[in-house]
């Protein structure tokens, strides 16, 4: 069953997991900043955040990744493959995340905001103590789904020469020709990472809806 292939694939899987975690952390920060930006009282900030979200959601991740990797050097900015890959993944997923943040914050009931104004809270305190904690619960399940999308999207970095698990698989396929075993292992490894995440998201979803009903 090609167990001898596994150590090489696992080395690639390590890169896949690192890429996923690094991009996820960055995408989370970007999503919060851009999501809050779209709700800002200042029109120029709203416009900038909106333009960022629409541009990165409106074009394809692969196009963005190739642009960062192949086109930016011609402007004098050369990124290593890893940085180009993380930048494209984080900016793309961050744009989707920003919409989740915006939706979750807007779904906090008006009464909560009015009450905190009545209690003389500053806007920052209101956001930190009242709005974000309630919005965060709503964000969790869609963020989980986005994390799974991100994990799957990391396979694209193999096309800009990052040795992730897909890259290792394709390289092995070309050198050994053991096509069936290699691709089956690839699918199994991705499934083994993604499916527990799917189950976790469903669990959180059930908990979150129970919380909302309570």
């Amino acid at each position: 069953m090609g167990f001898d292939l596994v150590p090489i694939l696992l080395r690639g899987l390590d890169v896949t997991v690192r890429l996923t975690l690094t991009s996820a952390a960055l995408a989370f920060v970007i999503a919060i900043v851009a999501g809050l930006g779209r709700l800002s009282p200042f029109a120029p900030i709203r416009f900038l955040a909106g333009a960022y979200v629409e541009v990165f959601r409106g074009t394809s991740v692969l196009v963005q990744m190739f642009w960062f990797f192949f086109a930016l050097p011609l402007f004098g900015i050369t990124l290593t493959p890893f940085v180009a890959g993380v930048a494209a993944l984080a900016l793309n997923i961050g744009a989707y995340g920003a919409e989740i943040v915006r939706g979750a914050i807007r779904s906090v009931p008006d009464g909560q905001i009015e009450a905190s104004i009545a209690l003389n809270m500053t806007p920052a305190l209101r956001m930190r103590r009242v709005v974000l904690p309630q919005a965060f619960v709503l964000m969790l399940p869609p963020f989980g789904n986005l994390l799974i999308e991100l994990l799957k999207a990391t396979a694209l970095v193999s096309l800009i020469t990052i040795p992730d698990v897909t890259f290792q698989g394709v390289a092995l396929q070309q050198t050994t020709g053991r096509t069936t075993e290699i691709f089956l292992w690839l699918l199994v490894l991705y499934f083994a990472l993604a499916y527990p995440m799917t189950l976790a998201v469903r669990w959180v979803e059930r908990r979150a809806s129970a919380y909302r009903k309570a």
Binding site: E54, V55, R57, G58, T59, S60, V61, L62, V63, Q64, F66, W67, F70, A71, L74, F75, G76, I77, I148, K152, A153, T154, A155, L156, S158, L159, T166, G169, V170, Q173, T179, T180, F183, L186, L187, Y190, F191, A194, Y195, T198
Partner: protein, 223 residues
């Protein structure tokens, strides 16, 4: 700072490659439309089979979860490299479209499932009481009510799939991305082709997304 970052954009070159890219955009659109048509059929089949008896629903459920949990790129490689090893040969475009259809069929089956579940139980009971056959109930009672609320979700997946078609370049389909790669490799100029590809994607997907949003708002108002 500006002597390090030199902004260069060759308008003449960009204009000269535009016709070639627009021809490739037609291939991209064809792949999206055919892939989506396949996904609509496969998704419905998955959704109906998942409602069947356990020996059917369980394996189909596993296939759906598996397709959703693994990257489209790897699935495309599997179809592209593995099928010929078993004597099944398609050209790259057909392989790519089948890959898109299967991957998004798995996603659409969830949309169907939610749509079918949203049809009131009483409709089934009333149709049964009127002695309608099963096929008749599906065709004239359940699907006509289940499909309209699914339309915005279908529209969103259509746009998502459109933006995923550049992956077909990895299995040598000469759609937009592959054409841009070829132009870049030939001219050592990547800025114009890749920027134009991004622009073409944006100019097509953004208006489409606005359209889906309006459709969604209208459906929400009608209910």
């Amino acid at each position: 700072m500006f002597d390090v970052i030199t902004f260069r954009w060759d308008g003449e070159f960009a204009l000269s490659i535009l016709p070639q890219l627009l021809r490739a955009a037609v291939i991209t659109l064809q792949a999206t439309v055919v892939g989506f048509a396949l996904a609509v059929v496969i998704g419905l089949a998955f959704a109906l089979l998942r409602r069947g008896p356990r020996p059917v629903s369980w394996p189909v459920g596993f296939v759906v979860e598996f397709l959703r949990s693994t990257p489209l790129l790897v699935q495309l490689y599997v179809l592209y490299f593995l099928l010929p090893a078993y004597g099944i040969r398609f050209d790259a475009f057909t392989t790519g479209v089948i890959g898109l259809g299967l991957h998004y069929g798995a996603y659409l089956s969830e949309v169907y499932r939610a749509g079918i579940a949203s049809v009131d139980e009483g409709q089934w009971e009333a149709a049964t009481a009127l002695n309608f056959g099963r096929a008749h109930i599906w065709r004239t009672i359940v699907l006509p009510q289940a499909v309209p609320p699914m339309v915005p979700a279908f529209g969103n997946y259509f746009i998502v799939m459109f933006k995923e078609t550049p992956l077909l370049s990895a299995i040598t389909v000469t759609e937009l991305m592959q054409t841009a790669k070829i132009i870049g490799a030939r001219s050592f100029n990547y800025v114009e082709p890749y920027t134009l590809v991004g622009l073409i994607f944006f100019l097509m997907s953004y208006p489409a997304a606005l359209l889906v949003n309006r459709l969604e708002a209208r459906l929400a108002r009608n209910r």
